[in-house]
């Protein structure tokens, strides 16, 4: 096995994407993804049982397609990595069971790795080694976190996280309220361009002084997020227009809602980085595709002297390549594999980059 550029196969099944990726060191060979997104549309959100059923059906075909496209045989693989958590427990179990079977059949070492840290690790596939003093902002339908990445393979800390809904979840719920369909992110982003972001002043969650405190004496939720109050505020707002028999100004609401989400996310991410001496920030997760988030984050990072790195869109959404990328970094760093005896951990903390044997 090449320690500097191991050939690693990564498996992802924590939410609604079945992903199999193969990397050689920091080089991406293939990123095969099957999504059950279409099946969740009529429910307006991911249904865990439907996602789990889809993972079972999609896994072997996705694996087979990935190996074929990369021109790699299972025998050539140096190690296997799989998302062990956090995520939907039933969904995780499909990927983990398949990964264990692969490791068992091939005799290759297996790593049970952290999904959130993999969103950061994917950065090595686009621009090579990650910089020092690195922070990461992860925004998706399943998570909203700010991380401090002292070492990708051994020291990752959680600076802040949502205490209720994920940002992407708030987009989905608001899209549902406005009758815009699922997923909510792209449609609200597009509609917001036609609306006035200052039309309605929606609340910014956890920004009151009692939550924020000061740099010296930080409040309990200084770097945390909350989006459930915002969702309720949007619902009340729509209700009031309807009560008055007025037409609901959907574009203005979309723009104002998006501004509230993006304002608080970018402000908090930049503040967390500044206060922790992090002058590099990596953006990841499906909501990284949001145009207003990218725009405002780029502007605020630039004013704060923070260099922003955003991997290509297909690497930001959930995928197997990110799992393989982190797996390859773990192999290179000499981290011991997890083996076959582990359980999924739907609440796996970021400090557990990979599970111990």
């Amino acid at each position: 096995m090449s320690l500097s550029a191991p050939l690693v196969l990564g498996i992802e099944s924590s939410c609604d994407e079945t992903g199999v990726g193969i990397v050689r060191g920091t080089e991406l060979l293939v990123n095969a993804v099957a999504s059950s997104m279409e099946e969740h549309v009529r429910f307006g959100g991911v249904i865990p049982e439907i996602a789990s059923r889809a993972h079972l059906d999609a896994f072997v075909p996705t694996l087979s397609a990935a190996l074929k496209e990369a021109g790699v045989s299972l025998a050539q693989i140096d190690a296997i990595a799989v998302t062990s958590g956090p995520g939907l427990s039933g969904a995780l179990m499909v990927g983990v069971s398949a990964a264990k079977a692969l490791a068992l059949a091939t005799g290759k070492p297996l790593y049970g790795i952290n999904h959130l840290v993999a969103h950061v690790g994917v950065g090595v596939l686009d621009g090579g080694a990650l910089p020092e003093n690195l922070g990461a902002l992860l925004v998706s339908g399943g998570h909203t976190e700010i991380l401090q990445v002292n070492s990708l393979t051994s020291d990752v800390r959680l600076l802040g996280a949502t205490i209720d809904d994920a940002a992407g979840e708030a987009y989905d719920k608001v899209a549902r309220l406005l009758g815009l369909g699922y997923p909510g992110g792209p449609v609200i982003d597009a509609l917001a361009k036609e609306g006035d972001p200052k039309a309605i002043r929606f609340p910014r969650g956890l920004t009151l002084p009692k939550f924020i405190g000061t740099a010296q004496e930080p409040g309990k939720h200084r770097h945390d997020f909350s989006f459930s109050g915002l969702k309720t505020a949007v619902a009340r707002c729509v209700e009031q227009y309807q009560k008055r028999g007025e037409e609901v100004p959907v574009a203005d609401i979309a723009a104002s809602f998006q501004e509230a989400v993006v304002d608080v996310i970018t402000a908090k991410a930049v503040r967390a980085c500044t206060e922790h001496g992090l002058n590099n920030l990596l953006l990841g997760g499906g909501v990284a595709a949001n145009s207003r988030l990218r725009e405002l984050l780029a502007a605020r990072c630039a004013s704060a002297g923070i260099t922003l790195r955003v991997p290509p869109r297909n690497l930001c959404t959930d995928n197997g390549a990110m799992v393989a990328a982190l797996g390859s970094q773990l192999v290179s760093a000499g981290v011991a594999p997890t083996g076959l005896g582990f359980s999924t951990d739907s609440g796996q903390p970021v400090s557990l980059v990979s599970l111990l044997a």
Binding site: R42, F43, E49, R53, A98, A101, L104, R176, L177, L340
Partner: protein
């Protein structure tokens, strides 16, 4: 033929069997005591079975397709399908209740009989078999009262003994905590293969839809 059998419809269970003509030898087996640790224990259990058989690669895999609790069931299916792909060997599906039926038929019942296991939510997964163990009807999922008035084998019988008896069925006491196991499942598969009988594919028998409900607002109603 060297066959690996897997069933996770109840507890995680795996066995390695060899057939020579009509003689079937069980080389090893392992069944978890707990019903909720399938993904944790199954792969290691298979690994040690194979190691005990000095690493010979199975020539086929038989897997229980349920019915059974969904999450656990998928662990066995994902494992079997992936092993089949990696080893490039066929994977045969077997109705999990058949495993209990095989053992029940050996008990020489005088009539048709029913095999039933817990389906949670106060229901049973069950199927009707001929006295020789041939699947006649099912599998179904229903409350105990809907089972035919026949001898009932399996852990489902133990769970709802009073209600089954009240509705005319009988409970076979020696089988009142029997779960589908990989030894019987593999035996069933090897016998079928030897007699040229077709086995199932590996599509899971969920028997229930996912519980997802379409929210009112998605049906075009605002708020």
């Amino acid at each position: 033929m060297l066959l690996l059998a897997i069933d996770t419809s109840a507890n995680a269970s795996t066995a390695l069997l060899r057939s020579r003509g009509t003689v079937i030898e069980v080389l090893g087996s392992c069944t978890s005591e707990r019903g909720n640790d399938h993904s944790e224990v199954l792969a290691s259990a298979i690994e040690s079975l194979l190691a005990d058989a000095s690493g010979q690669r199975p020539e086929a895999i038989a897997v229980g397709v349920g019915p059974g609790p969904f999450t656990g069931l998928r662990v066995g299916l994902a494992t079997a399908r992936t092993l089949g792909f990696a080893w490039d060997v066929p994977v045969h599906g077997v109705v999990s209740l058949d495993a209990i039926a095989l053992e029940a038929a050996a008990d020489n019942p005088e009539t048709d009989f029913v095999v039933a296991i817990d389906a949670r939510r106060k229901e049973l997964y069950w199927a009707r078999y001929s006295s020789s163990g041939l699947l006649m009807d099912g599998p179904h999922v229903s409350v105990a009262e809907e089972l035919p008035a026949l001898p009932v084998y399996g852990a489902g019988a133990g769970l709802y003994a009073e209600r089954l008896v009240a509705s005319g069925a009988t409970v076979v006491a020696e089988f009142a905590d029997a779960h589908p196991g990989a030894v019987a499942l593999g035996t069933r598969a090897l016998r079928a293969l030897a007699s040229g009988e077709a086995l199932e594919g590996t599509e899971p028998l969920y028997l229930r839809e996912s519980d997802a409900k379409v929210p009112a607002v998605m049906k075009g109603k605002l708020l």
